[in-house]
Amino acid sequence: MGALDDMAYKPFDADAVIDALAPLLQLTISDKQRPGVRLNLKTASKMAALIEQVKLPDEAEPLPVYRP
């Protein structure tokens, strides 16, 4: 079944990401929000690990293709 696979997850410092990107995005992450944001970043990184396991050729095009 397709539940999250902890094997694919590489730990990282979510607080460092939040502290670096929140000012760039003009977001203020309160102490109340931080645990939830941290948890969701961790989930996202697990998802990213799953998609990075699929190797695609350099020529692969994204699905949306601009048609003038």
Binding site: Q33, L39, I51, L63
Partner: protein
Amino acid sequence: MSVGSSGPSAEMGASEIAQGVRSGRFKARDVVQAALKRVATHNGVLGAFTDVLSDRALAQAEIVDAKVANGIEPGPLAGVPFGVKNLFDVRGIPTRAGSKINRERPPAERDATLIERLEQSGAVLLGALNMGEYAYDFTGENVHDGASRNPHALDRMSGGSSGGSAAAVAGGLVPLSLGSDTNGSIRVPSSLCGLFGLKPTYGRLSRARTFPFVASLDHLGPFARSVRDLALAYDAMQGHDDGDPAMAKRAIEPTATRLRNPLPGARVGIAGGYFAGEGLAQQHVRKVTDALEATRVVNLPDAQAARAAAFLITMAEGAALHLDRLRTRPDDFDPEVRDRLLAGAMLPAAWIEKAQKLRRHFRAEVLKLFEDVDAIIAPATPMQAPLLGQKTAMFGGIELPIRPNMGIFSQPISFIGLPVAAVPIWLDGAELPLGVQVIAAPWREDICLRIAHQLETSGVAKAPLPRGFSET
């Protein structure tokens, strides 16, 4: 079927109602009044409707009745009451999309295209329905409006994010409703509440004048208690609309008149690999595949990665949509939605680009499967309706949060925009249903609906009203 002094019964489906109104056996006004009475009786418990538009509905019913009285064709859905998820624009009320923030918007000036099309077919809009905030939800819970409840077990989730749309139809308040499905928001509540639901091909039905979530994945579609009703509504809503740039310019391809057409030698595949297992969901799939005499297992390659890609695109696009509101009014969001969106704003662009490339790759791989099969069967959800407030559940032997995991089987399919009919399956003696997806190649909604109809007529799929909701 019964027509008492209070009007047509809750059991009656859209096609029966339309037949009765068209033949003059009863009036649209009586149908609408009976539905309004059921809403008044049950909505306090179900939490399905957030806006009830009695005056508008009765006025529309009068128009339908006048057409019948004057020998004017009233439409195939004459007098059928319906509700819409409250992300559809409804003339005269703000489109709240399940949020606190959006209810401060000015009232919508014009109905969403799909509402207009249903009313042009004679249907009558009764009101707007509860949903998870900004459609980022699989539970049917809403911190602002309260939860929509599962009519089969009131202490359980209706599923989300179109929870009110499912609760209203499963509880017999209306025979028809509309919802949206970005990652499973029609199929999940259909599964949990035991309904037929249709998520058409991406680009088939107009999304004009509805509040978006993830533009590249958003679909709209109907819920009903029978396949015929689902097909009637779907047919009425088809047709190009310049108001939605994602629409494919497809001709209208009617399905309701073709439901009984046999599918000679239909080749039905069973989704294996990622979708397989020994759990409860797979027992429901087996009931369907046994009935269809399907034995061929097909593997959707990289389905788990496809689901992950849909998950990331959703986080990123959803965050981009709401970034200004996250900056200025973070405390007015549902905290669970807000924190997912805040994290979504911080995802690297490289992940999203890879996710979009994977979308093309997965699409190509799955389309190859349709050279050998006409339909693929998969579970709609990994579990039956959880308890309201429940945060975690067992997924494949691991305890995980419900919110991000309820869509594991629905997400890979909507990711590539395939049409799906969710069909409600009950195991012998079960008190709760679980839905199964009938998936077809792009633009073959007719196959989804014909197989769903076959399952319905053979008694394998059914959507009975629960005890306590069929009396009025």
